[in-house]
Symmetry: C2
Subunit: 385 residues, 2 copies
Amino acid sequence: MRKVAIINYGMTKVDKHWKKSLRELFGDAAKAALKDARVPGLDALIVGNMCASDLSDQNNIGALLADYLGITPILAYRVEAACGSGAAAILAAYSAVASGMNDIVMTGGVEKLSDGVGGNTTLALGKAADADYELFFGSSFVSLNALIMNHYMHTYNTPRESFADFAVLMHKNGARNPYAQLPFEISRETVMNSDRIADPITLFDCAPVGDGAAALILCPLEDAPKYSDSFVEIGGIAGATDTINVASRADLLSLNSTIVAADRAYKMAKVTPADVDVAEVHDTFTITGALSIEDLGFCEKGKFAKLLAERAFEPGGVVVVNPSGGLKSRGHPVGATGAYQVAEVAMQLLGKAERMQVSDAEVGLTQNIGGSGSSSFVSILRRVK
Amino acid sequence: MRKVAIINYGMTKVDKHWKKSLRELFGDAAKAALKDARVPGLDALIVGNMCASDLSDQNNIGALLADYLGITPILAYRVEAACGSGAAAILAAYSAVASGMNDIVMTGGVEKLSDGVGGNTTLALGKAADADYELFFGSSFVSLNALIMNHYMHTYNTPRESFADFAVLMHKNGARNPYAQLPFEISRETVMNSDRIADPITLFDCAPVGDGAAALILCPLEDAPKYSDSFVEIGGIAGATDTINVASRADLLSLNSTIVAADRAYKMAKVTPADVDVAEVHDTFTITGALSIEDLGFCEKGKFAKLLAERAFEPGGVVVVNPSGGLKSRGHPVGATGAYQVAEVAMQLLGKAERMQVSDAEVGLTQNIGGSGSSSFVSILRRVK
C-alpha cells in the first residue's frame, strides 16, 4: 500500500453565501487548493456532500464539479455519510491513491445549506437519522442530543455551565479564524441565556447552519516533493459505524463508532492519544464535543468538565482541541466539515495557521461524525520532517 | 496493487416492492450474496444509491444498512453518481480492496423508487441533470434524450423502427430473467403504438421505474479460493465524466464519458472490444442503448441499426448485449443498476445464468451511466480458469 500525502488545501469562509451556488463554492476552494501545487493535472475528484439533492435539487455532484472546474473527462463521484461525508470522501480518495489506481486526487466537501431551493434545512439534516424509526416520529437531531445531554449531566453530575464553557472556548478560538462563520467571543451568560432549542440545549450550544467548501490534493507520499515544498502525511485513516437509531445504542453516553474508528486510525498510524498535539473534533452540539473528546481517548469518561476547567484542551494542556473554533464557531457546512478539519490540521502541522497556530504541532487528529454517532471517521496527520 | 475478485453476489427481483423498505431490499440482496460465501466477516460496506434522500427521507445509507445487517461497527459509506451510483460504489470498493485497506468488502446498490414518501420520482431522477441550467428550465431526462434520438435519426438516416426493434430484443432476453421487472416479450408494434412520452420516445423506449438491490462481495484475488469455489476477476474498472449539461457537449451523438471510461478499462484489463463475449450496457432509453453500444467500440458510429438487423448483438454475433434484458426489461432501479450489471456478468462468466446463459463466455463488460452521459463507469470481468 502506497503512503499518501496532502500537498495542498483550499477553503472558503463558512458563511451564508447567498450569491454563490454549490459549484461556485467548491470552485473557490478547488482553485485555492490548486494555486501553489505544481501538479501536472488531476486523476480523480472524490467529493463529500449531504444535502444538495434536498436543498439545491442537484445530484451527480462529481460530474457537476468536474464540469465546472473544466477537468472532464476525469473520474469523479460523490461520497455521502451524512455529516461525515467530507471525511468519508477523503477516506475514499486515500484508497484511490494508496492502491495505485490514481496518482493525484482532488477530494474535499461542499455544502450549501442556505437559500435552499428544494426543501427545508431542518428536514434535510434530519435525514441523517433513521427515517422510519426517528424522523417519522418527529425526532430532530437537536432533540435526540438534548436527551443525551440530560442523561450525561445526570450520570456524571456535570453542571450545565461546563457545556457553556466549552462553547466559550470554541468561540475564543474561532475569533482568530479568518474562515469562521461566527468569529467572535461570547460569555458563559450568552450560552446560558440564549434561546432554548431543546432543553437543555440552547442556541449557543449548537453549531450554526452555513455554506462552505474545502478541497484537498492527495498524492503518493514519495511523489509529494515534486509537487509541493510543504506537505503532510496521512498516517492513519479509518471509519466505523454504530446503530443509526440512537435508542438502540448499548450506551447513550459513548460514541462507539468514534471509539472504534479512532482505535483503527491510531493503530494504522502507530500513535496513541498521548502523541496527538492538535485535534479538530466534531462538536455539533456542546455535548457532542464532550463525548468526542472522551471517546477519542483524550479524557476519561465523565471527566470532560473537570479537564475543561483545568484548561486541558488549550495550549499547554493534554491536547489543543479545535483551534479553528470547531463546528460551534468555524461553522458546520455538513458534508464539507470533515474536509475543513483535515485542511485545518494540515495547516497547523505546516505552521501556516497564523493566529490559530499551535506551536510545534507534529501529530494531528480529525474526527468527523455522521448522524448522532452512527458513522465516525478519524484521521491522523503527521508532519513530514 | 492487489488483484480483486468477486466471490459472490445477490439480487432481488426488480419490481414495485410496496411492502419492502430500502433497508429490507438491500438486506435481501446482501443475505443472498453472503449465503454461499465462506467469509469470516466483512471489513467494509460501500453502497450506491441515488434517490433515498428524496424518496425515502433517508441519507446516511451506509450506517443504515450496516445497522440493519447487524455488521456494525464496520466501515460503511454511500457513493453517488446519479444512475451510475452502483458502478461507482463498486469502483470505490475495488480501490479499498486493491489498496490493502480492506480485505472483504460488500458493495452494490439499492434503490426504492415506488412508494416515495418525500417527493416525486420524475423530479428526483431529474436531479441527475444540471439543476441550474437544465432542470430549472423544465428539461426532464426523457425530453433531453428525445432531442438526441431525433438528431441521431436525422444524422444517420436511421428509421424509428430500429429503436423499437432494440426494445423487442431486450424484452426477448428479459423474458428469461427471473429478476426482471418486465419479463415478457413485445412486438415492434407495441413500441411504435405505445404512449408518446417525448416524441419520438414512446413508453416502450423507456426503462421502467422500479425498486431493487444487488450486492457483491469483493476480496483479493489470491484469497478468493479460500472463500468460494467459484469467482471472477475484475480485470479492469474505470470511470469518466463529461459536461453535466447536454447542450454543452462537443457532440450530442457520442457519450464521451463512455468512450474514455471504456478505453481506460480496456487498457487496465489488457483487452479490446473484440475480446468481449457478453456486455450489460446502459439503455435507459433505446437511443441510450444505441449510443452505448457504439461508444464501447462494438459497432461503428451510426451503424447500430444495421448491426442490430444483422443480429450482431445476439449469440453468434459481435457481442451478446444485455442477456438480462437490460434496463428496458430487467428494469432500472437507478442507484442499483450498475450493481445488477456486474452481478449479471459475473453470473454469465460462472455459467450460472440458466435460461439467460451465453455459452462459453470468458470476458464480460458492464457500462453504467449517470445523468445523460455526464458520468460513465465501465468494468471488465474475466473468468478465472
